[in-house]
Symmetry: C2
Subunit: 457 residues, 2 copies
């Protein structure tokens, strides 16, 4: 089909929407390492995992052989309310850059949660409901995940308790209000609700909290409340599975116009967006059917892939969660207070970590001021105000498109635009006022993080 | 086509998007009354109007006979970046209400400006650019219009000066930052930039400003700055023309599935959304080809249609703009500080005022707490977090759907969901905390507003 026929936005018909999630692990020769029980250091059993997560989600977490999981009809109905997400041809960006590259982005920010997080939130809430549970708990930092989960729970009539990092709770009162609009209870963490919260408050009065602490509180409440389970918005393999809807839709949209990407770019914190976006493409790569250059983009301030080590580590600072083998900076590593809250995580999803270790994808780190420059440039040209997290991918997409100007190559670049920046205007303000700074952890800081890794043979 | 075939969201193909705006006035027997020069009380000439507005926009403002205005290609390209807006079948809302009614909404909040305002912003900015102008000025209250204009100007490389009501400027710093992201200069009004601003500040030190004052400042700067003109986001007939894209897309989407609405509902402040949404339907009604129940919904706190008078009045509090014949509460009427900033305008678009006076549409007023109840209900069921303004239409759509439960009628209801509430969370917070109050102006307050109407024979 000729180049001219490609519209600005490719929407799949409802009938073209994926009906099954794709489990990338099924095609991996080197499977991601299993989660370990933090006490016994033995692989977690499904029964053990089911004490924290819903049973079906525990099953999905452990299944590395089933390639496709049918999406339950109720979830597909929910998806139809805000999906398919458009695959946008960035004609205006191409023209502005005067690049021969063809740029596409999968825009996941069009729903009220403002990000792709909703894709997994509805799945996790659905399985909780199906199991007859009455509620779920979770933590949230920047607030996208907490918002998404609140929406999913409102839809299904499930209680939702969100532990929000206290400093975010105070700095982002409007995020909190969106969650309240969806009926969630939002508690600043650390709180007096939990033993771990009380302990931390006693030790560190006035602390602003951390994601690690919020996770610990959410897990404690879930395991102590009958009919509750804990859910998590990234890092887990089950999340990658649900998020494969992003990549499946992207591939279906490209296939409609016989377009093959050369480069696929995604921002990477815990890996939920990147893992979802690349899933079917990486599958082709693993099966030897196609080759793609796949680039994970992470903040230089929290460089888990580019400067971390591949090792077993705790998923949370409080060490109450199982151990995962991943690229990590150490669960004790405290990233600088940058504005891409969704990327401030010390580790990377086990699936993606294994793929990276196998040389199947590359990784780059970028500084936040150059990320905001790219964000503002993009907003003015393409109209959409991107989240700081998403803007990491924009930055590298623009870099690659500029390389094409030099080489004359007409590469096709696809990147994930995971969300919108409506609740990040404080960060934009700092950028506009010239008050934004960059952070690069020193070798000593990284060494300190590594030193606290658990000893696992 | 069978009921089952209608998807959750109807997207037009790019090739199905309207290529011309529809000018409702061409089909009106009773034309809207002309704008009058405030000093001479004679109809404004195109030359006079062109001193304030771009020439092409002055021409569009006065043309009540040309039915279709081709949309310039550059504007159509811009539209392709964020349009077509989906027409959503509210299956979840229908199911939750257990109503036999079929509910659709045209969702205009998917773009970064967060509302339908962008449809006219790009048109007005385009004609300014075509005329060789270098910049435009405007006022903004809630901020949706200022954001939309900033985006349009950034796209076209046009300077944009926004006078933002001071109290909004201070209460909504993030709105301001979005505009800055798009390169606009945003000044709290009243300011020391203008004679009118300095005069008001001298008389009322510490005032929080008003839309009327901001308009006066923007007009003064536009007329005193070479290469500048003033632009306005609602009320004007030209704005209704550009916004007809909403209704044209809605009708095209419904026609694809052979759906005929029974009731069409829109919120109404200055009338930009309502006028656009109903345009082609009202056209059919005027031509005797079809009949529809059309309902304008306004806040009880600012009831220009339901409790105003049809008379010539100033468009701005400062009385620097031409006089328009409209349903009005008087330009001196100060509506209570409710949270639907976009509906706090004393008058109604001349075109809609004439249609209402001719009995071709009806109007209802609603209280803000019941509006927020509807907003939250809708958000939880349909996922989208609506703007307070849009929620006026939601409230009445739900009312009508509930009536169908009683009568058993399977009416088809279409309403305009004009925008999102991301920057209105302070209002939601007040609602959640039970601190929201309702306001109904007394007869005395209305009489005081009427008493200051200009004397025009």
């Amino acid at each position: 089909m000729s180049e001219q026929k490609i519209p600005y936005k490719i929407y799949l018909e409802e009938s073209e929407m994926p009906t099954a999630w794709y489990n990338l692990r099924a095609d991996m020769v080197n499977k991601p390492a299993p989660l370990l029980n933090g006490e016994t250091l033995q692989p977690m059993t499904e029964d053990e995992l089911s004490e924290v997560f819903c049973r079906e989600l525990a099953r999905q977490e452990m299944d590395d052989t089933t390639a496709y999981f049918p999406i339950p009809e109720k979830i597909r109905d929910f998806y139809k309310m805000y999906r398919p997400a458009p695959l946008v041809r960035a004609y205006c960006l191409e023209e502005k850059l005067q690049t021969p590259a063809k740029i596409y982005y999968k825009y996941e920010g069009g729903n009220t949660s403002g990000s792709h997080k909703l894709n997994s939130a509805i799945a996790q809430a659905y399985y909780a409901k199906e199991q007859g549970l009455t509620g779920v708990t979770t933590e949230t930092g920047a607030g996208q995940w907490g918002t998404a989960l609140s929406m999913a729970c409102a839809y299904l009539g499930l209680d939702c308790k969100v532990y929000m990092v206290k400093v975010s709770y105070e700095q982002k009162p409007f995020r909190r209000e969106v969650m309240r609009t969806y009926g969630a209870s939002v508690t600043p963490s650390p709180s007096m609700d939990t033993a771990v919260g009380r302990k931390i408050l006693a030790e560190h009065p006035g602390t602003g909290g951390s994601l690690g602490c919020a996770i610990s509180e959410a897990v404690e409440v879930a395991t102590n409340t009958p009919g509750y389970r804990y859910v998590l918005g990234s890092v887990l393999n089950q999340v990658m599975l649900h998020q494969s809807i992003i990549g499946l839709e992207t591939k279906a949209a490209l296939d409609k116009y016989n377009v093959k990407p050369d480069i696929i770019i995604g921002c990477a914190g815990g890996g939920s967006n990147l893992g979802g976006l690349i899933a079917p493409f990486m599958g082709e790569k693993l099966r030897g059917e196609a080759d793609y250059q796949i680039i994970a983009v992470e903040p230089a301030s929290c460089p888990s892939i580019t400067r971390g080590v591949y090792a077993y580590d705790y998923c949370d600072t409080g060490a109450v969660c199982p151990l995962a083998k991943m690229y990590t900076l150490g669960s004790g590593f405290i990233p600088a207070a940058t504005h891409a809250g969704g990327l401030r995580y010390h580790g990377m999803c086990p699936t993606l970590s294994q793929l990276y270790d196998d040389g199947l994808m590359e990784a780059r780190s970028v500084q936040q001021t150059e990320v905001f420059e790219a964000a503002e440039y993009f907003a003015r040209v393409e109209g959409i105000l991107p989240a700081p997290e998403s803007s990491h991918a924009i930055k590298v997409a623009i870099d690659e498109a500029r390389k094409c100007i030099e080489t004359g190559e007409e590469k096709t670049i696809v990147f994930g635009l995971t969300g919108t920046g409506y609740f990040d205007m404080f960060a934009y303000e700092r950028f506009h006022d010239g008050k934004m700074t960059d952070y690069i952890p020193t070798e000593e800081e990284l060494a300190a993080g590594r030193a606290k890794l658990p000893k696992v043979e």
